[in-house]
Symmetry: D3
Subunit: 291 residues, 6 copies
């Protein structure tokens, strides 16, 4: 029987730090990622390789790797035939999706894609951009450019560039005129690896743990004690979709309630619970949440 190993590609570069932190929260500790493209991980069944996000889907499709983490944008650009295991709701700095946008200098007369007919577009995402214009029946020349930055935008007619918040484009006096593709991080697998019992279970376990860590980020545990007589009214304040754990206490007039909530809800919920008479309210951080 062959040794059971999962070859897993993780992205170097802008997603690297966030990915390694996420694996840490999921319970996998990655060492030496600053120094080596083959970082160590404290799970003997996983072999890690760090590659540029741009290349991971190609290598997973080829079967050189069993699975990998990369962006939807580069899966599309490469046209890679892979299994998409799940979406992973994290990116470089936030949990927002990133966008590749069509942008022109503030001073340009271009206001819609059609105005670019016959023009030149610089981008790192050549295939996706070509398809975008072809779908609209707009004839343009798409030119590869390493980082189609602000200066590039002034030497061609428009650029297609990655952005999270648009702030960097605005700072460079560029104006967004359309979104070419919206991308989030994906966990992908090679099609053959997905048929292998060991690899599939390993991949699914990693997916469960990564998602559990992502879900725990914006949630907290909340506990409080309430009088049994107020139980019903308090339960109404709690988010409907949550089923709180109600446990009995030694003092039978009271019950303890525990519930997992999103931290955005916490802001209005905690003052409301206090006003409704709950006592000993605490919230505590979570490592993982599995729905």
């Amino acid at each position: 029987m062959s040794e059971e190993i999962l070859k897993l590609g993780i992205p170097a570069g802008s997603l690297q730090k966030a990915t390694i932190e996420l694996f840490g929260k999921a319970g996998f500790h990655i060492l030496d990622s600053e120094r080596s493209y083959l970082p160590r991980i404290d799970d003997e069944q996983i072999r890690l390789i760090m590659l540029r996000a741009q290349e991971i889907s190609r290598v997973v499709a080829d079967g050189v790797l069993d699975a990998g983490i990369t962006g939807y944008d580069w899966i599309m650009e490469n046209g890679s035939d892979v299994v998409e295991v799940c979406e992973l709701g994290y990116s470089k700095t936030s949990s927002n999706p990133t966008r590749w946008v069509l942008a022109v200098p503030d001073e340009s007369k271009v206001t819609k894609p059609e105005d670019l007919q016959g023009g030149t577009i610089a981008t790192e995402l050549v295939s996706v951009t070509k398809k975008y214009f072809a779908d609209k029946n707009i004839n343009v020349k798409v030119e590869f450019s390493w980082g189609a930055t602000e200066v590039k935008a002034r030497l061609v007619d428009a650029i297609v560039e990655l952005t999270e918040t648009g702030a960097s484009l605005r700072a460079n006096n560029l104006r967004i005129i359309d979104t070419v593709i919206t991308s989030t991080t994906r966990f992908i697998a090679n099609k053959e690896a997905w048929q292998d019992k060991f690899k599939r279970e390993k991949i699914e376990n990693i997916a469960i743990l990564l998602n559990a860590a992502i879900d725990a980020r914006n949630r907290v545990g909340l506990k409080m004690n309430i009088k049994k007589s107020e139980l019903e009214s308090i339960l109404k304040i709690l988010p409907a979709e949550k089923s709180p754990t109600v446990s009995s206490l030694a003092n039978s007039d009271y019950v303890a309630i525990e519930v997992i909530i999103e931290d955005k809800i916490e802001r209005s919920l905690v003052p409301a619970l206090k006003r409704a008479g709950a006592s000993g309210i605490i919230t505590y951080p979570l490592n993982k949440v599995i729905h």
Copy 2:
């Protein structure tokens, strides 16, 4: 009906980092505070402005802002007529109050405020210092100085300077001879805003959450299992003012006890509980504690 917005001033400078961390723990995420005086916050009902702590009470009193966070020292210096919502027990580096102290060079002959009769005092806190000396009927000239630092102290007769621990003054060979004012951080509101239903509730909610986060800092949750027969003796060891949550377990010989304690007490309590026979003792961190 007008849009419901709370204009909130937070201090730039030495309190900035601590304030933004505190809001984070309270559940409000502030972005771009390093780059912009109008940092973003993930609550659409709040508009943040970052100002020097020295100026916030003036701007809240004028009604340009609805509420703000600043020090008691600068409320006094500016003589601002504002509502003090609550004290916030945090400062730059610790939970200790800061003091403005009257200090002289180690080699000075001055040992008490009265020795400064007829002298010159340099300080950033001119009005408070003038009042301090006037109350004691000591006649001095009070001169404004940007940071009345160690060298300044040698060009005048004394300085009134901010300190948390006194360490920086000692390092500059300055000797403290009196405390002029003790200051802690305050949450203040404009008087009219305080009468507005929406604004007052919003301000109170923020106050509850900030205080809950502050209280959680030095507290931990403690859980343990104990034999029912030992319950009484163990309860005596626990801090009297706390009412622990006692919950029943499947094994009816045992009960689970959970209690929130200060981390200073934890140091003596945990070994004592272990000696008293408690098992499975754990402590865990908290995000918020509401009394």
Copy 3:
């Protein structure tokens, strides 16, 4: 009656940061450790002194300090007659023990200690190294060297050098041929101090808290709700040696289970529990775990 004070030595240098963090997690906040060899600690019964790890056991044996934290290697090197209170499972970067290894340049012909007969060994750990070779009846000259680094290894026949993972030795093209001594961090006490009631209890309390913090590092709390009917099958999945806390819920068809597990186990346990039908699984971080 004399004032009750424990004089405690903590290691400066490579263990310093990890030690101060560990005390923080144990509930003791150490200030100014970057600036002073007498850092402040928020416990009035402890007086801290920061010394090189090499010298602590000597000073504890002499009674200048009551207790201290140092490595087993330096206790052996100094031949210090002290009480070993407990082992502390932490080191500079990991929870692995460190090793002093006998190493030679990759290009050396030496492959075993015996090949060094008549040669010269450079090391900072002179006594231990002499004893190591004497025990093997190999005659060598052992020379003191401040950090027996890679270049030193090329000027003598072999070095005895500290390593955690061996990575730095490999990077310097050195080959390990044997382990001279394995060392972990130890909490030691002066023999007389150990007989003093106050000091011994204080030392034991610190030991309990430090170990509780160390144990909490790699553990998490796990909670879930399960149907009573599935209780037995789920309990079989949990690690045998753990006794989970099973508590009753308002809904009597379900019970809540809580258990402390190692984070390495969590990786396989969480997906298994999910598959076995547990719901509302969460894990949360711990500050202290006392067995």
Copy 4:
């Protein structure tokens, strides 16, 4: 006879680094300026004190210091009666003068000082600003503000703020509508000190050396060999106001020419000289140039 000492104030803060470098080039080495307000200098006749630029003219006027380096802006603000020894052509980052400008938010309707009638102006330079508006018979309230930054500009009607290039104002979306005062660095002396023979000569020597170092910054020495027959035509290319040193060579057909030129002229002069037949042209850096 009293000991001969010159007490000299140099500016802390934004000019500090540039001032210490300039003294270094002038031949005075200043040590410990990062750590002490009384930095050491390798001239036993000088005692240095480092103070905020804002306060130096006040202290020199009072006679606490004999001389000092500060900005024209703060001499005016303080209304200090001092001897201005000379202008020193350097500032924080360039040799340009700095300006205090009247600025408003981009979106403000104010376009000229007169539009501010009845308004409020925030600035650190209160007296100068009051005089500026009084001279124009415009009635405004001038409010002190520590750093009248971008956010401040939005809470009052206009600010008066320091700028070198205007870049930081533009980045904050502020628009300059007038210059209130232009300032350069000045070397000033106390009036009595200026009458003291030793102090005056010492001050003048320092002034000569500082100016010689400033002048050397943007100049280079240029040497070349030319045929005697081409001497006249080459001399015409050289800047008229310079008198080059022409020295004879062993080979009597040639002469050597040496001249000090500004580095801006060098850019066009060097190619021109090459085309005109000069050979062995070199330029070399200078430490000091005394006209």
Copy 5:
């Protein structure tokens, strides 16, 4: 008449810092290059644009820029039809040319290009690499790769990668098997711009000044006084190709000699001159040297 402006492209990225320093030594001060792709330069006839070295020759060939600085490698890769004004002897860290080398993992069996027949090569320099293999009649697939780094080398058969000293390749356990192209920095011009009188003279002036600054880097001026009687023997020691400036002195027994020498020669020359009886030998740094 049109305004006389030269549009000049300089490389962003690895050559950026060295280029800006070189312009500074040549007498052109470039500001804001860290913040803007259109850095300011203190010459009103030049407009600077900062672009990736990879793209400059394309843009110069298109006439968007008049001239630019880039590497020979990228001129070849782009197949750009431009005027090569001169070679500039500088690179990122040294004055050595850079090489694109064909490299394989240490453990690969490949030892010569021919062994790669039928294989896959990853590189950023696709066209040049294709031509290299075509010239040798070796059939390979050349794949574009952003930075064909060490990990990439293990997923294909070989990489073509840039190196100055080979150190980084060795560190990644890669073995060089051939040099594909050797490259140095070039100053290039657009063909039409080269025919424009103003532009050509401006380009030539810049070329003279850049080369003068490069030549001055490794040269020093040397002066000494020697007895006339020893003139002949000393002149023999000096490098033959240099014609020293011999000038007469007031004391007619002596002459002063001045000569520009390379600093590598200085190391043996200075001791030799001292032994030969020269006195008052000094060497001094140079800003520019024009042959």
Copy 6:
């Protein structure tokens, strides 16, 4: 015939940066000194090894190295029998010698070495310290200590510690009571190597160049033009021991004078020359000065 190579040891640690800069000024460029104990140098006849200053004299005496740079203190401590080629007037931060001083806590009653009779001394310089006390017939125990820092001083009776200015000792509240040994940097050679013709000449050449670079540090070249009629009076102002180079000019009423002076003299000389009527005075930096 054997290859001609000089094996040269240079100090790692506190002297490392200053040594590498000095070699650079002497004309030898050392690369990779941050990364390798065998840094590269651009002279094929030299092989560099970087070692702790403490060990260099031992290794030179043994003949493992031909020559080395180290401190007089460690030559004495090791009792090494080597040739002292010359003193090198540089150290970590200044050109002052360093001192090993006997120091006690401020609060100690010890005021002279004799008061330490019977006490314990901690130091890194054990042999020299033992000899110092033996010479004075004072009986003490001398204990090795890695960096006998401030805290160490409080656990023994006195320390012998290295200092340049005494500032760090004062900051640690230590009081100097005597100087044990004064040390400067030395260039040393192995006795046999010194008899080898190639090695000795190479060592002497390096010594000439290092000393020429050291001498150039605090000197500048000064040039001026003066009227022949004022020549005599100006020559009297110049330092007597210097013989200026007087060269004739095309305008025979004037002569050019050039002289090398120390920069400390420059401060008074330049203003004096200006007052005496010299014109066109400039000073310029030097790379090397050979007397």
